[in-house]
């Protein structure tokens, strides 16, 4: 809320639209393909055809190609030059993506514990309090957004922009899966305890503990995801 009426009339009444909110076709294609791959709608090693995709999605091959390049860099597809594009995703890959996220999130937690400021610590505590309430109420949708807030606050406290972006790429729980996960009271309880432990460690500047607890949390909740998406085990 800066007062800059002289240079930007009305700047205090309506904020500038962040250019990043504008979207492109390739962005839609990227998100759509990504979601399709991560939810298992492509078989591992399945070939995808650029022209065919373009037709299915009703666009030209240009945005398709660009989206595929992004997915390639993310490690979700592999391009064999002049031969074809293959889907590169299966249970093992998902497991490794979870490990990557665990490694990066725990690094962030470590730094957040060292760098967090008092005001930020207060907000983090508030978030945990809200999570506690939502957990008791069984408010799954609230938990989903609080979860995002929680991790985002830690990212901000860590002062790591690059690492934050890297982590976004390892994020493959989409809303529907999250809802399934959070609908289980036992899972909700575990998650709450872990979040509380992470927050406590960060707030008390115990970077080693924050790192450890965060890693365990990401791995454990990742395994929950694996069980749901890949039906790895059918026990209770």
């Amino acid at each position: 809320m800066q007062k800059e009426a002289s240079t930007e009339p009305g700047a205090d009444r309506i904020e500038k639209i962040d250019p990043r909110f504008l979207t492109t076709l390739r962005d839609h294609v990227h998100k759509a393909l990504r979601a399709a791959i991560l939810s298992g709608r492509f078989a591992p090693d399945e070939r995808v055809n650029e022209r065919q995709l373009a037709e299915q999605l009703g666009v030209s091959t240009t945005p398709i190609k660009e989206a595929l390049r992004q997915l390639e860099t993310e490690g979700l597809v592999e391009t064999l030059p002049r031969r074809g594009v293959l889907i590169r995703f299966n249970a093992g890959w998902a497991e490794e993506m979870i490990l990557a996220r665990a490694a990066l999130e725990s690094m962030i937690a470590h730094l957040a514990a060292k760098r967090i400021e008092k005001a930020e610590a207060g907000k983090l505590e508030d978030t945990v309090a809200l999570m506690r309430k939502a957990t008791e109420d069984g408010a799954a949708d609230d938990l989903i957004s609080l979860n995002e807030t929680f991790h985002e606050q830690i990212h901000i406290a860590s002062r790591c922009q690059y690492l934050s972006r890297m982590i976004e790429r390892q994020q493959f729980y989409d809303a529907s899966i999250r809802r399934v996960i959070h609908s289980d009271p036992l899972e909700r309880g575990k998650a709450l305890a872990e979040h509380a432990a992470i927050a406590a460690a960060i707030i008390s500047n115990d970077s080693d503990k924050a790192e450890r607890v965060m890693r365990d949390h990401v791995v454990r909740s990742g395994e929950t995801y694996l069980n749901i998406v890949f039906n790895k085990k059918e026990d209770i």
Copy 2:
């Protein structure tokens, strides 16, 4: 060396060419731009123009666009839709890339310590022995390739393909910088000691120690890089 003379005559005399060795224009563009950015030939936040790049490199805009999408996913450039492409790299970014690599390599080291097999352990020991010799001889070029071998052997022992690829994207020491680093006898000595410690921890299946030592090694050698490329400190 499989004997499949019946289906593939001569298969035991000459091996198949790996399709990944074939290259494309976009790949050249990607590597060229990446190297240029990481070595500081673009200013932070500098705008780059697709058509201009295409003209400079003597190609059309298509491979340029695809290479830029890859760099965008890597976090080295940022695209503002319909506005422009910006370079996103500076000392802080490089620092975070080092942290990302440290987090991922230490995760890999942890798993390698748990999963390494006897034959692999022997090879790793051999590599360290060669490194010791090269360090004493001051053979910088040998050290550079041995370094690659060393980390690659650990990646293989960890059975993590996805993580290995992720790490490749955090690799920004090009050959010329490595040569500068390895030309310093003090640095060579430190690196040797660290490599030996990493190998020992992995071979003795001490996963926690492997993780810790690997992380310290990546961070410390990364700082050496930062000092060279960004001239962060001028002391001795």
